[in-house]
Symmetry: C2
Subunit: 313 residues, 2 copies
DNA sequence: CTGAAAGCGCTAACAT
DNA sequence: ATGTTAGCGCTTTCAG
């Protein structure tokens, strides 16, 4: 009756409902999950909730999931494949309805999930081998826009601090940077390219190494928010004026970037929307496991601020 | 045998384990949960993962929970009591092992959790009625330090933008502010006190109202990170120089506050540690439901930066 | 159309 | 010390 199945005497129904309230009866979700062989839980595997990029993503996923009646289990992988594998095992053991993952590596193994029939959506980063629903931004275009903006502002010796080779986003953003230089007819100088770890320290050290090695540069394109902050800190610490001596633009916004001085130019990603879209795709995949995989690419937006002001010299 | 109970023929054990691996057997956590009448899930109820304060808290909880074998379900309440109640119902229905909550209101009703025997720890904010384990900072002292610092820097007409009356943190921080003024022998001017909503917009409007009403002020103490940002934005927008015309200090740090210009003075809370401590307390409470309730108070740290530089005039 | 019964996969209690 | 069984609370199926 409580499932709204039977057609019962309305008076009886009222009495039952009263009793339900009176006795404080609560349906046991665990028993329901066991019987239905499904839960209403999603695992969200990201490298760090401390990074505002992922925060906003998670927020979107949670809001989206709520609409469909799912709760979100947070899983920080710290870019660590072992930890990632652990969480995948948990998701499997707990029969989670779906997994949204920003893989720590292009080759992250999600075959166990696929084999178990668990719905999976990758977010931000793509998987090389397995074909599953994916939501991401147009990284190559975003990076090209950023680099193109520096070129238009008059910078010519533009360095690129990108992420690890094993991550799709790092490579796509690097390609975008290279494409912009090529379009402008500028030489590709390998000394201008650094692979760091997508963290603040990585950005800092990459910036330091560029300065220490005396590589001639007049601008920096940093391929994520944290590395941008690291690079700026390094420049500030060493008294290199931004943008007069070195222009800076970063990929992905930083909250309150407008309160920084100089204001940081960035390529903004629609992070919240990425999360919402992933939630939509996952809910849909759960209802419709057979549908062909979807690949959703959202666009980025250029936000020029003072750190990439037009060069006058 | 898989529970490591029996003493079995080692050769047989090896064969079983081989079969386990071969067949890809995975224990069903849901069935286990039903039988044990317990899960390994914690619900963390906070108002917003988008706020770096809560982000860092959640990170601490997740890291702490992992150590004890728990996963964390993220629940954004948006300071909304209805949504909070919904999530409490979910935690109950899903038999979650424990709940860590930063209540949207001093009178948030957690009696259902208590009645069901679910372990609960409040974090950041306290509950007025129910006595449960609690982790927080010394808000009054932190606010007193902040205000005291402004006084030492030569400010005399210090306004306070605090949070809603219904929240313990807002009231404690207000009291700390008042205590500092009293110690300095300054008058308590009610026109200097504003209750906002702990959000950026709230800080912005409160600041705007102070300026619009022509209240004579030379400094601001804002009782959380987001309201500090809002207040600074308002001042910046209206061209009020910080700290020369108005000094600013905020409660709770903001990531990369040192990249802001002027650098924002803050009272730092040990956010990550708060989360870790709450996790510890919750795990312990689950193992030991009868132990008396604990109330853990951590200390804050003053981080003076340029926004509250000593007045020369 | 409604009520009864089987059983999801595991573990705790019980019998051997 | 080991093997067996009952049953967690629900939903689904099947019989009435």
């Amino acid at each position: 009756m409580l499932n709204g199945r039977s057609t019962v005497n309305p008076e009886l129904a009222a009495r039952v409902h009263a009793a339900v309230r009176e006795l404080g009866y609560r349906p046991n979700g665990v028993a329901r999950n066991l019987r239905r062989r499904q839960t209403t839980l999603w695992a969200v595997l990201i490298s760090d909730v401390g990074n505002p990029f992922f925060t906003s993503l998670v927020r979107g996923v949670e809001d989206g999931g709520r609409q469909f009646g799912y709760s979100v289990v947070l899983c920080n992988t710290d870019e660590n494949r072992a930890r990632e594998a652990e969480y995948i095992a948990v998701a499997l053991a707990d029969n989670m309805a779906g997994v949204i993952i920003s893989p720590a590596d292009d080759n992250t193994d999600i075959s166990a999930l696929v084999a178990a029939g668990t719905a999976v959506v990758t977010i931000d980063r793509e998987l090389a081998e397995t074909e599953v629903d994916a939501v991401m931004v147009d990284n190559e275009k975003g990076a090209e826009m950023a680099t193109g903006h520096l070129l238009e502002s008059g910078y010519r010796r533009i360095a690129c601090i990108t992420g690890p080779r094993r991550m799709s986003t790092a490579m796509q953003r690097l390609r975008g940077y290279q494409r912009a230089l090529r379009s402008a007819g500028l030489p590709q100088d390998r000394a201008l390219i650094r692979h760091a770890d997508f963290r603040e320290e990585g950005g800092y050290s990459a910036m330091a190494s560029l300065l220490d090695e005396g590589v001639e540069i007049d601008a920096i394109f940093a391929a994520n928010n944290l590395m941008t902050v690291g690079a700026v800190e390094c420049l500030t610490e060493r008294g290199v004026p931004i943008p007069d001596r070195v222009g800076v633009i970063g990929f992905d916004d930083i909250p309150w970037a407008r309160l920084f001085r100089p204001g940081l130019s960035t390529v903004r990603q629609p992070t919240y929307e990425l999360g919402r879209a992933a939630a939509q795709l996952l809910a849909d995949r759960i209802d419709n496991p057979a549908r062909p995989t979807a690949r959703l690419v959202l666009q980025t937006e250029l936000h020029p601020r003072e750190s990439s002001r037009t060069r006058t010299s």
